[in-house]
Symmetry: C2
Subunit: 168 residues, 2 copies
Amino acid sequence: MTHPLYNASVPVFKQMLGGLDAILAKAEAHATEKKIEPDALLQARLFPDMFTFVRQVQIACDFAKSVPARLAGIDVPSYEDTERTFAELHARIAKTLAFVDGIDAAKFTGSDQREIVLRPGTPKEKRFDGQAYLLGYGLPHFFFHVTTAYALLRHNGVEIGKNDYMGA
Amino acid sequence: MTHPLYNASVPVFKQMLGGLDAILAKAEAHATEKKIEPDALLQARLFPDMFTFVRQVQIACDFAKSVPARLAGIDVPSYEDTERTFAELHARIAKTLAFVDGIDAAKFTGSDQREIVLRPGTPKEKRFDGQAYLLGYGLPHFFFHVTTAYALLRHNGVEIGKNDYMGA
């Protein structure tokens, strides 16, 4: 039997990254069809001090890789934030998916009690046990960025629906 | 020890409903301070065929009450969708929180295997076991509406931050 925190993380991140990739594909097709400059979507924001679509996708990937990695007690891979095109964002999602998919479920043994320390030694240091880290922190942050990416595309007229978001 | 699906539902919904209530309070204060017609926020949409802010809050509450109720095998309370003011939305969140808080954790025993049937007997019928229902369906839908409510307010200039959303 897999650990409950494996079940609540790896399959969830995989499903939603699939959805994120699907809305990205529809955004790209929309831009091509309507002859829209890709950056009109990629660099879109819902408000001037919010992150761009590109950044929302990057951060969603960051939570998707770092949360299960920390629960499993393995190193979080570091990605440079250099993506500027639809193709590069697809690639980032693909490498995130491959990483998440490759995490050994057995490493989640004891993860609910594992101490997770974010930004250690800084004034913003945060400590959690694994369960609180995933359920009260990691998932809410991850869904925030996936949904905001979706909302940005919808706001800009890309024809996507909740089924796309759901990655079903 | 509480059931893993209790841990992944009741405390998560409570935390995020707290956040939803907090951003609602800030939206109301913003409208008062800037002399904004409340409906400019309450009836705002990110795109014409998306739901209004009021509807996003209603639906978030619907997932927050129905998902843990179905997992616990108890009746889902029915709420009429009549809210038209900030005060009425606060009240809806409050009654949802009270309901969720009152669910007996012991009723989650066996919930991972419990069969959940949505829209039974209709062409849109969906069947899940409890685990798939919560993790692959209920949480993604819930977070979608909470985040969209947040995005709507941010897009309209309400000064809220991710800490508000997180309900911390």
